[in-house]
């Protein structure tokens, strides 16, 4: 028998004023508790009111139904009962009164937080002042070059490189992730080896390798493996600096994307795949309709990190003398000597690009979170 609920014979016993009574009541002899109860049914059955304690009434039914005044459960009952230590008729009135005047809640104050906030506010003001008042930042030069055509073109090129790197990186990464999850040991270990290799070599080195591919293989031919070639082309013609940069970024990104996608696929409950299989849903559909959309929930936040990382990562491409943002501002400040101002221009654009992406990420996450919220 659920004794802890059985004692009360009205929902009112769960009212807030219970607190002080709790400690006192164990001392109370059973008969007095019983007498405390006696008036309750008449006075305050529904007192529970605003807090909706009525649920407790439902559970109390067995005790009431037994016809006993619940005195038998005196001991454990008092743990929840709001019976005042003195017992007696006033008890019932107390409950009624408490029900009419709900107790106010006063939240804790946090003086430490106020002090900390004040300190941060002062530091913030100092930082803003230092930015605005120091003429060495050359804000007017920043304004002059922020929307200069060459800078805007370099922003677009940066975005193009990022898009190529992410799209092809994640396409290849998904293939690698599926290989990693495959039962075939060769597929599995090739994917593992790829990931190990491309994660280990710094991006800047990889880019230089691709840039200089023509030194290793002056001509590339396409045809049957180890057999006749259908046509061949000069490596320089096929892989120019832009292609080399995009290729390097994508191949590098694929190694990370593979692990992100794999983790996402593993995060989906096995029962989902099983249910899809039990329903006879075709295999590719199981992946693209059932498993991947659910995996996206854990893929998107990490992928968002990667995309933002890659926006900035494209700055490495400057070593290939490609006109992305970082390279472009260097070109300009080498001409006019306004180093700080132009670095600031690049900073602002990187900030804008990543902020827009963060906002986009928020909406993508919300889309894949549907049904979960």
């Amino acid at each position: 028998m659920p004794v802890e609920f059985s004692g009360a014979d009205g929902g009112d016993t769960h009212d807030p004023p219970a607190a002080p009574a709790v400690l006192a009541t164990p001392v109370t002899p059973a008969p007095s508790t019983t007498s405390a109860k006696a008036p309750a049914p008449g006075t305050s059955r529904r007192v529970s009111g605003p807090r909706g304690y009525a649920w407790s009434r439902a559970r109390l039914v067995p005790a009431s139904a037994s016809g006993r005044p619940a005195g038998t459960a005196a001991g454990p009952r008092v743990i929840l009962a709001a019976t005042p230590p003195a017992g007696g008729p006033p008890g019932g009135q107390d409950h009624a009164a408490a029900g009419e005047r709900p107790l106010r809640v006063v939240t804790t104050r946090h003086p430490g937080r106020w002090v900390a906030a004040l300190g941060v506010a002062v530091l913030l003001a100092m930082a803003v002042s230092a930015l605005v008042t120091n003429p060495a930042w050359e804000w007017e030069v920043v304004g002059e070059f922020l929307f200069a055509p060459s800078v805007l073109r370099s922003v677009v090129f940066t975005l193009e490189l990022t898009a190529l790197g992410i799209v092809f990186g994640f396409l290849l990464g998904t293939v690698l992730a599926l290989m990693r999850l495959s039962g075939n040991p060769l597929l599995n270990s090739v994917a593992w080896g790829y990931i190990a290799l491309f994660r280990s070599v710094p991006l800047i080195l990889q880019l230089l390798f691709w840039y200089n591919l023509a030194l290793l293989y002056p001509r590339l031919s396409f045809g049957v493996p180890f057999g006749p070639a259908f046509f061949d082309v000069g490596t320089m013609d096929l892989i120019g600096p832009v292609t080399a940069a995009a290729l390097g970024l994508a191949l590098h990104q694929a190694a990370y994307a593979a692990e992100i996608v794999r983790a996402g696929l593993l995060s989906v409950d096995h029962g989902q795949r099983e249910a899809a299989a039990a329903l006879g849903i075709p295999r590719s559909r199981q992946l693209f309709r059932i498993v991947l959309p659910q995996a996206m929930r854990s893929i998107v936040p990490t992928a968002g990190n990667e995309i933002i990382g890659l926006v900035k990562g494209t700055s490495v491409v400057y070593i290939m003398a490609l006109p992305e943002l970082f390279y472009q501002v260097q070109v300009i400040y080498n001409r006019n000597g306004r180093v700080i101002a132009l670095l600031l221009v690049a900073t602002i654009w990187y900030l804008v690009m990543t902020s827009v992406m963060s906002i986009a990420q928020h909406y993508v996450e919300r889309y894949y979170g549907k049904g979960r919220a």
Partner: protein, 254 residues
């Protein structure tokens, strides 16, 4: 005896060194409701999962409606079928999981229509009407556009049953359909299952609900340690068990 809807012959299955099924023979006639009872680890869920080839058998055979499930016979050998064929066979065999396994990112309606559309390639209008009918049948018409997460366990399981029915299968398998539910929600799911039993669907139900078995089953099968210990009508098995093991089990669960 008429042709069996489900027939298992001498099914063996091991997980590593653990022998889970040690030669199980079972026949289920069309329209018959078979309830499998047994203690945890007796192999009853594994048995059920071999029927739609979610679990491969080590030896023996499983057939549904006269067709071997998961294998093609040539001489005295069984060759495993390509996955596409197995998936096609499964559309004739509904399966209801203990943990529902509804697709959380799809609405209730999409959960029900997904397989008829993608596995059976039936026209959209027809499948939509079917889903509406089935959801009405399980009492959830008003939840068609909710996501599963918003539903109670009992409602989710009723959607899962509608989803299995949407393929219009020849047999439906229930793997402890009420074990993951709060006690007060068990009844609504069992009522739906009872309704199906009354409509002449062939069903195999693994459950711990002895009362349900008594009320609905045509045949009760008691399993222990990978074997069928006893089978018969509910009256025979539940009220007058012939085996000591059955008696012991029933004395604990009743």
């Amino acid at each position: 005896m008429s042709a069996a809807m489900v027939e298992l012959r001498s099914v063996h299955k091991s997980f590593g060194s653990l022998e889970v099924l040690r030669g199980v023979d079972l026949r289920v006639a069309p329209g018959e409701v078979t309830v499998i009872l047994g203690p945890s680890g007796s192999g009853k869920s594994t048995l059920l999962r071999t029927v739609n080839h979610l679990e491969k058998v080590d030896s023996g055979s499983v057939s549904v409606d006269g067709e071997l499930v998961g294998y093609r016979r040539s001489g005295d050998r069984l060759y495993e079928l390509p996955e596409r064929e197995i998936l096609r066979q499964r559309t004739k065999i509904g399966f209801v999981f203990q943990s529902f396994n509804l697709f959380p990112h799809l609405t209730v309606h999409q959960n029900v229509t997904e397989a008829p559309r993608s596995a059976q390639r039936r026209p959209r209008a027809e499948v939509d009407a079917l889903a509406t009918r089935l959801l009405e049948r399980v009492g959830l018409s008003d939840k068609a556009h909710s996501y599963p997460r918003k539903l109670s366990g009992g409602q989710q399981q009723r959607v899962a049953i509608a989803r299995a029915l949407a393929l219009e299968p020849k047999v439906i398998l229930f793997d402890e359909p009420t074990s993951a539910l709060d006690p007060e929600l068990v009844g609504e799911v069992l009522d739906v299952v009872k309704g199906l039993a009354g409509s002449g669907t062939t069903m195999i139900v693994v459950t711990h609900e002895v009362g349900f078995a008594r009320e609905v089953a045509d045949t009760v099968v008691f399993m222990d340690e990978g074997r069928i210990v006893e089978r018969g009508t509910p009256a025979e098995v539940l009220d007058a068990p012939r085996h000591e093991r059955t008696r012991l089990f029933l004395s604990k669960v009743l």
